[in-house]
């Protein structure tokens, strides 16, 4: 038990009662928190979410810092014996390969994976940012204005969602002269906004009839300002959750598309391309080449999924504190 005079912080009324039962003399002071602080508190309470956030952050750190620290050049598809003259100091300690080497060309798997994590994260985070913006604008307009604009936009979204994704990616990448990571990122962004648009539209539709929207309109607020200042901030939490989860979806999608051979140029070490190359070596017992990049994907996706669930609970203002 604490001494009297020593301040204690409790977060729930139940905890407060417990403390007061032991020390009836405690002076109680209320501190109000804003929405963001409340959300952070709910998120912290979610142990899985915190774990997910740590996992995801550490993968980001690995992807960003790793390539700088590793003894091999970023251009990992240069055979190893040429690397010493590549502007890097000759290695004092013979470098060992903790994740093994790839077959034949003997690239270091750790270097490949670390570079792959960075590239794949860059693609998926970039695509998420762009697609969330497109989806928010389209969904917001569609939900707010309704009518024929809504009908046309949503029919178009339905139609695109009914087509096989891999086919759309192929068509877009040929159209954009694709193959490099930037094109794939743009393609993902151009295909990824569909779900966000649907989500935002449904939220806006349900909020459109609220009194504060009518009040704003009567006060002469412009339509665009109503959408962006009055409606969208209320739709922010589902958008944030969906965006978090879509990073994971893009990581998997990149891996899959590159794996079947229609993604980024095979010489770029994204996680999917590394896996794609590993397939030929499995028959001869080289399992490490396939296992480690896949493990990296699982860790990133798992971290994001945990985080997404935690965010969903944290950002829902109706959830109990």
């Amino acid at each position: 038990m604490d001494e009297i005079g020593h301040p204690r912080i409790v977060e729930t009324p139940a905890d407060l009662e417990e403390v007061l039962a032991d020390n009836p003399d405690y002076e109680v002071q209320l501190e109000s928190l804003n929405q963001r602080q409340l959300a952070w508190r709910r998120f912290k309470r979610h142990r899985m979410a915190l774990l997910g956030a740590i996992l995801f952050t550490s993968m980001v750190v690995v992807g960003v810092v790793g390539p700088i620290l590793l003894p091999f050049d970023k251009n990992v598809f240069v055979p190893l014996d040429q690397l010493n003259s590549n502007g890097r100091p000759p290695m004092l300690v013979p470098y060992f390969h903790p994740f093994g080497e790839t077959q034949q060309l003997q690239y270091d798997v750790l270097t490949l994976v670390v570079n792959g994590i960075g590239l794949s994260l860059m693609i998926s985070v970039g695509a998420t940012v762009i697609s969330t913006m497109i989806g928010t604008v389209v969904g917001g307009m569609s939900g707010y204005f309704g009518g024929w604009l809504d009908t046309i936009l949503m029919r178009f979204v339905d139609a695109l969602l009914a087509l096989p994704l891999i086919y759309l990616i192929l068509v877009f990448s040929e159209f954009l002269g694709g193959g490099n990571w930037f094109t794939i990122m743009v393609i993902f962004a151009l295909l990824g906004w569909l779900q966000t648009a649907r989500l935002v539209r449904s939220v806006i539709l349900s909020l459109r009839g609220e009194d504060y929207v009518d009040a704003a309109r009567v006060a002469g607020v412009s339509e665009l300002r109503i959408i962006f200042r009055h409606l969208l901030p209320n739709a922010l939490s589902p958008i944030i959750v969906a965006a978090t989860l879509s990073i994971a979806a893009f990581i998997t999608a990149e891996a899959f598309v590159s794996f079947v051979g229609y993604g980024i140029d095979p010489s770029t070490p994204t996680l999917g391309n590394i896996l794609s190359g590993s397939q030929q070596a499995i028959g001869s017992g080289n399992w490490w080449w396939a296992v480690f990049p896949g493990l990296a994907i699982v860790l990133i996706v798992l971290g994001i999924n945990f985080m997404g669930d935690g965010l969903q609970d944290a950002l829902d203002p109706r959830a109990k504190i």
Partner: protein, 365 residues
């Protein structure tokens, strides 16, 4: 009710029309094309090329080509008569009603540009193989998802529930094809228990679906069955593990919702045995969203799992789709895309209709 269904069916037509426009438009934007394989051939003269283009209608304006592909226009027609069939009736009517026989609307998907075989035959050959894989997987994963989801909901916040939840999270985070690779590494490459891919043992089993195969099944039913099971094992495990994760989370959430309802408390208060409460009162109500979700998963039975089929070289629709894209075989790519899209739209419709039928709270006026 019937009015609601008819209204939804009519509502799907614009979506399908946009889909057909998109599919056709995307193919026009794509590389290659019907004449691409002649580009490097010195024996093909410009005249021969022109004759080829004329024969297949490639010299027509794009909208005429699209109209013919769709089956609204008759390739034999002239001028404004193109929309009439050879019987003088609108070409888009079904064949037995005096319409034409060309185009997607009449189930004519064209010829594969890689093999010259009609696309419908390519699909007919591949479809049973995908059905074998996806059907077995679907039955298994739905059963498992129900068992895991219900257990997890009934024993909420116990160790069992936590274990199932952790399994769900982890399995849900696995890329399908990587799980397939792992299984191949462990059970095929290291342990040698199962084959790494394919659908039949090429050394002693004829090609699946041919008359030779059925003759072989007649002679050695046990061998044929064992061979099929051995090849099915790994891809089915892959599909089941990944799909169970998503679906059992869904069942759990639906079941927890149902268990919270007043009628469940009433049933318990009346002294109904717990088993009966769970299965008769709660589960039947929880199945409502689950059934809708299953409806949305059905197209997969036909189009197959592209990732799984690719990793295990399963000769089904998904693998065919990837191969055809690589060969620039657009008739097949378009055919499979059209079927996928129709199935997805149909499944959405079906899910809505089932929901409206099963849930009395939804009005469909």
């Amino acid at each position: 009710m019937i009015r609601y269904i008819i209204r939804r069916l009519i509502g799907a037509i614009p979506t399908l029309f946009i889909i057909s426009l998109l599919i056709y438009g995307f193919v026009l934007l794509s590389p290659g094309g019907p004449t691409a394989r002649f580009a490097m051939n010195p024996k093909i003269t410009p005249e021969a090329l022109a004759a080829f283009e004329h024969r297949w209608g490639l010299d027509q304006p794009v909208y005429v080509q699209y109209c013919r592909w769709l089956g609204v226009c008759n390739p034999d027609g002239q001028g404004l008569g193109v929309v009439l069939s050879n019987h003088g009736l609108p070409n888009l009517l079904p064949g037995f009603m005096g319409g034409g026989d060309n185009g997607v609307l009449h189930f004519d998907l064209g010829l594969s540009s890689a093999s010259g075989v009609p696309v419908s035959e390519v699909i007919a050959e591949r479809f049973p193989r995908t059905l074998a894989l996806a059907g077995v997987a679907l039955v298994l994963w739905l059963t498992l998802a129900l068992i895991l989801g219900v257990t997890s909901a009934v024993k909420r916040y116990t160790k069992v529930d936590n274990a199932i939840t952790v399994f769900n999270y982890v399995a849900y985070s696995f890329p399908t094809f990587w799980l397939g690779l792992l299984l191949i590494i462990i059970f095929s490459s290291m342990l040698g228990w199962f084959p790494a891919g394919g659908m039949w043992d090429v050394r002693n089993t004829p090609i699946f679906g041919t008359s030779d195969y059925w003759a072989y099944v007649g002679q050695h039913p046990l061998n044929a069955f064992a061979d099929l099971v051995k090849h099915l094992a790994l891809p089915v495990i892959t599909l089941v593990a990944v799909s169970v994760a998503g679906d059992s989370r869904f069942v759990r959430a639906a079941m927890i919702d149902a268990l919270r309802q007043d009628f469940v408390r009433t049933a318990r208060a009346k002294g109904v045995p717990e088993r009966r409460v769970i299965f008769r009162h709660a589960l039947r109500n929880a199945l409502l969203p689950v059934v809708t979700n299953i409806g949305l998963e059905l197209p997969f039975l036909f189009t197959g799992a592209i990732a799984t089929e690719t990793v295990f070289s399963w000769p089904g629709m998904g693998a065919q789709f990837i191969t055809s894209i690589g060969q620039y075989d657009y008739p097949v790519v378009m055919g499979i895309s059209v079927i996928t899209a129709v199935l997805v739209v149909g499944a959405n419709l079906l899910a809505d209709i089932i929901y409206a039928i099963v849930d009395p709270r939804i009005s469909y006026g």
